[in-house]
Amino acid sequence: VGEIQRFLRDDGMVKVSRSIRELSFKIRHATDDYIKKHGKSPSISEVAAVLEVTVDEIILASDALRDPASLHEKLYE
């Protein structure tokens, strides 16, 4: 837990961290679903529409998704 909090703190998002974290998981799910259905990655406005939130919220939350492990997968895939 300390790790995640430090990560969010580093991202400067302390007070809004929990809801952002939740939304970031929803984004991940919605994105995976969309790819399964349409065979391509959704745009942020499409994700925002599915989750019924603003594009601003998607931007903030997707920043919390930043995760070095997935970056590595991408690079070496």
């Binding site: 990655s41 745009s43 942020i44 406005s45 594009v55 931007i59 997707s62 920043d63 930043r66």
Partner: protein
């Protein structure tokens, strides 16, 4: 669409997050995919971190400057500092090369920037500073998303 912005800030680590978010907001009107955003942000993040850490050693007063232009769905960007400069650019761009192994740097910054951008160039003069330029073209805005 056409747009242009310049952002500059002093060299402290907190400003990497500022740069990352500001640039994300700048490209939002292109309605990028989450993947495109993440790639773009990563390039910005790596270049800005280099300027702050290697260029200025986090001195808290020298300026890092970002300039970005949107032309249709292509974004062109420069990240510049007037700091230490790079001794040997070719070597610096090799995967795993870092001058700061003791700081847990991976040496993968330039490799990541190159793989996520369409083209990337680096100019640097020792004692004068470093300019990183890159371009990234985004998937065209679809009609459905344009209408919202």
């Amino acid at each position: 669409m056409k747009n242009e912005m310049t952002l500059s800030f002093v060299a402290i680590e907190e400003n990497e997050a500022l740069a990352r978010m500001a640039m994300t907001c700048f490209i939002t009107p292109l309605d990028p995919t989450i993947e495109e955003i993440s790639e773009f942000k990563t390039i910005v993040s790596e270049a800005v971190t280099n300027a702050i850490i290697h260029g200025y050693e986090c001195d808290g007063k020298s300026q890092v400057t970002l300039h970005a232009v949107i032309d249709d769905n292509k974004v062109s960007m420069t990240i510049s500092d007037e700091g230490a400069g790079i001794f040997d650019i070719e070597q610096a761009m090799e995967p795993m090369f870092t001058t700061r192994p003791f700081m847990e740097r991976s040496g993968m910054g330039f490799t990541i920037m190159e793989s996520f951008s369409d083209r990337l160039s680096v100019e640097s003069v020792i004692g004068r500073g470093t300019v990183v330029k890159f371009e990234k073209t985004f998937s065209p805005v679809t009609e459905t998303s344009r209408m919202r």
